[in-house]
């Protein structure tokens, strides 16, 4: 396993919810990253974010790690969930809430 794959594997295993994005939650640099953040904030879950614009190695490495060509990318409990389209579709269907609930990641109602 290359160094960058090991690094990314570490990030996704050490954090329950990780969003690889462009920019930061406060200042997203792309509409799709912004939408992903809005969904996570709406769910009220805690998450870690990685700004790929600040790290070229991760920016390239995450694409092959996930076999997914675009940013943002969401990981929950080490599993790749998808990009912003999938997050939105899952959210609208209630499936993202269920996924978080299944992992006990939703805040108490």
């Amino acid at each position: 396993m290359s160094d960058i794959n090991a690094r990314i594997a570490g990030i996704v295993s050490e954090n329950d919810i990780v969003l690889f994005m462009k920019g930061t939650p406060l200042f997203p640099q792309c509409g799709f990253s912004s939408r992903a953040i809005a969904i996570l904030d709406h769910l009220g879950v805690g998450y870690e974010s990685v700004d790929v614009l600040q790290d070229m190695e991760v920016r390239q490495g995450i694409k092959s790690f996930s076999e997914w060509p675009t940013i943002p990318q969401l990981y929950v409990k080490g599993e790749f969930v998808g990009g912003s389209d999938i997050m939105m579709e899952m959210f609208e269907a209630g499936e993202l809430q269920q996924l978080m609930r299944d992992h006990s990641l939703l805040p108490e109602a």
């Binding site: 799709f32 694409k63 060509p69 969930v81 389209d85």
Partner: protein, 90 residues
């Protein structure tokens, strides 16, 4: 008039999935001046595709199938490709 990348996306997806429905929509104008706009007028697309090949596949698998078919277009030659993939009857 569809640009060269849009035509390539349409031809590739038609060949790969024999879709019942395929709409490739160029959203680039609505993202003009945003990050990811490279001035080509072909930076952002939405693909709406319905094909029997998606039956029984998860959302993730469907998007992977479309991305794989399109090779280096999503994320490299095109900044953003939104994909709405469905099977007939959904």
């Amino acid at each position: 008039m569809a640009g060269p990348i849009q035509q390539e996306i349409e031809a590739t997806l038609n060949a790969a999935f024999a879709p019942d429905r395929l709409d490739v929509i160029n959203d680039s104008a609505t993202h003009r001046g945003h990050s990811g706009d490279d001035g080509s007028g072909e930076s952002h697309f939405t693909v709406v595709i319905e094909s029997a090949q998606f039956a029984g596949k998860s959302r993730l698998e469907r998007q992977r199938m479309v991305n794989r078919a399109l090779g280096d277009i999503p994320g490299e030659r095109v900044h953003a490709l939104a994909i709405r993939a469905s099977a007939p009857g959904e």
